[in-house]
Symmetry: C2
């Protein structure tokens, strides 16, 4: 099979042996695979793949068709449309995934949307609800509202009955992000527009002081990204006085049972909305596998609304 | 009534008008009132009493007898032995407390023990279980294991089936603290002796780096005291990689309904152990109200095992 491959800090396309499914696993013909910040870090050598995952092939989420099943695998039949978070190796023509990590793809989702869906919606769902315990009527702040996780979080927050505020740096994207259901503000205004019961932090530690300052009593800060910097000073007395809490989390590196649990939560709580079209997966651009390097360059440029997705040739092309 | 009173950064004894109980409140003849770190901060002018509490009279916990009841108060009869966390004003001959904040005093507890019990056990219970979700078999680290909250936390952790490690700075106290059920270590050894599922931080921010380093995957840090410093740098990527969380909390300043909820939890989960004598309230020293300044000096000196308690004259003395 052909696959995106990390070589000397760059991403190229190379031939690899076809993988074979083990017990409980499915071999998936990948049709689309979204890009995520972790892929960029992995290509730069700053974020090694978890043990047991392909080391050289990036890609943390896929959508495609079940080609064959390993011993005991029975949740999905051959030919069924599936999508999943994977530990790596997603940006390839074939991928092997445990059936407990797979989710069905709603009929109304195209391949690019499906390929850009699992990672961001699972990440946002886990951060907002499992970690942050966001509930109806609460005030949610989403930092970086225009990105894949940001647009997912805004929609999930709104559908759960929260009042959503989102920061968007690029003024050109603010109207579009507002359509997902958020009050959109410039990043420098977020403290003044608080307080917030839940803050989704996916930008960096530079926001920590402002996050604490604008946190409501018993508020929760869910940190799921620190691309702009991981280290900052913290005043624990402020956290005590607000009786607040700070969660850190990432999906990658979790054991199979926890990834499967997240997949079940997304199936139960998010897929119905995606299937009904009330929640969308915004795709900023798609690139065929041959142009995967361009996809990474586009991702790194930023200023996009939603996902960058790598698409594979249709079978028989 | 006579009461400890904050005057120019010192604590003296002065006459005050007797308080009268309002609806749902009891007037309590205080027999003993424990000292806590917050009292020291309040006397120093660094921790104002919450609104609605006596401004000049320190004291966050009391034990005594119900003298009279306001309209509608019926949980306790006149003469019953009660104890409670109060927002302030505890180190006085009389105190008015809402009956939902009061707890019964187990028969086997003396006045000094009862007066030194509510704040530390409620604080430790809330931090370990409500915030930290400590459960059987987990590894608990208690920073400052020789103090009032520390000895309470060690005993609660052990009775809940946790494996408890406690830091104690004073080598002379280590054997006594170990008897409460902890593996006692020097503060500088705590990182090497990890990992820990729950860390109770009541010393200061200086421990934050080591706490994160020695935190287990999905571990929780409960910050309930920062006497040795509130500010420190934090690396949020470490918190993400461990999928950890940091809670800040304090009991003071919570509304009545939340304080009452904590009192119900202590009644249900801690009083049976105190009543059976399987959990103790270690009292390091008692001082009569006239010598309250000495009590504060003794508290500030540190190096004590358990509580410093101010005792009032027996009625009729």
């Amino acid at each position: 099979m052909r696959a995106a491959t990390v070589r000397d800090g760059k991403v190229v396309v190379e031939e690899h042996p076809d993988p074979t499914p083990g017990a409980g696993e499915c071999l998936v013909r990948v049709m689309a695979a979204g890009l995520n910040g972790a892929d960029i870090l992995q290509v730069a050598g700053r974020y090694p793949a978890p043990s047991g995952s392909p080391k050289l092939i990036p890609g943390m989420e896929i959508a495609g068709e079940v080609l064959s099943r390993g011993r005991g695998a029975k949740r999905f039949a051959r030919g069924e449309r599936v999508m999943a978070i994977v530990g790596g190796g997603g940006q390839a023509e074939l991928a092997v995934v445990h059936e407990r990590q797979l989710m069905p793809v709603p009929d109304n989702l195209g391949w690019a949307e499906a390929g850009g869906c699992p990672e961001v919606f699972a990440t946002a769902y886990d951060a907002l609800f499992t970690q942050g315990e966001l509930t109806m009527g609460e005030r949610l702040l989403v930092h970086g509202g225009a990105g894949g996780v940001g647009t997912a979080a805004i929609q999930l927050g709104r559908h759960a009955g929260a009042q959503v505020t989102a920061t968007v740096r690029n003024p050109k994207l603010r109207d579009e992000v507002a359509r997902f259901g958020a009050t959109v503000i410039a990043p420098e205004d977020f403290v003044a527009r608080g307080p917030y019961d839940v803050i989704l932090e996916l930008v960096g530690a530079e926001n920590l002081k402002g996050n604490l300052e604008s946190l409501a009593t018993e508020g929760r800060i869910a940190v799921i990204g620190v691309g702009a910097g991981a280290k900052a000073p913290i005043n624990l007395l402020v956290l005590m006085a607000k009786r607040g809490r700070i969660h850190g989390s990432m999906l990658r590196g979790r054991p199979l049972e926890e990834k499967a649990e997240v997949a079940r939560l997304v199936e139960r709580h998010v897929l119905p909305q995606l299937g009904a079209g009330t929640i969308q997966v915004p795709v900023a651009a798609t690139f065929p596998l041959d142009r995967v390097a361009d996809a990474y360059a586009r991702f790194a440029n930023g200023g996009k609304l939603g996902k960058i997705v790598v698409t594979m040739d249709e079978p028989g092309d």
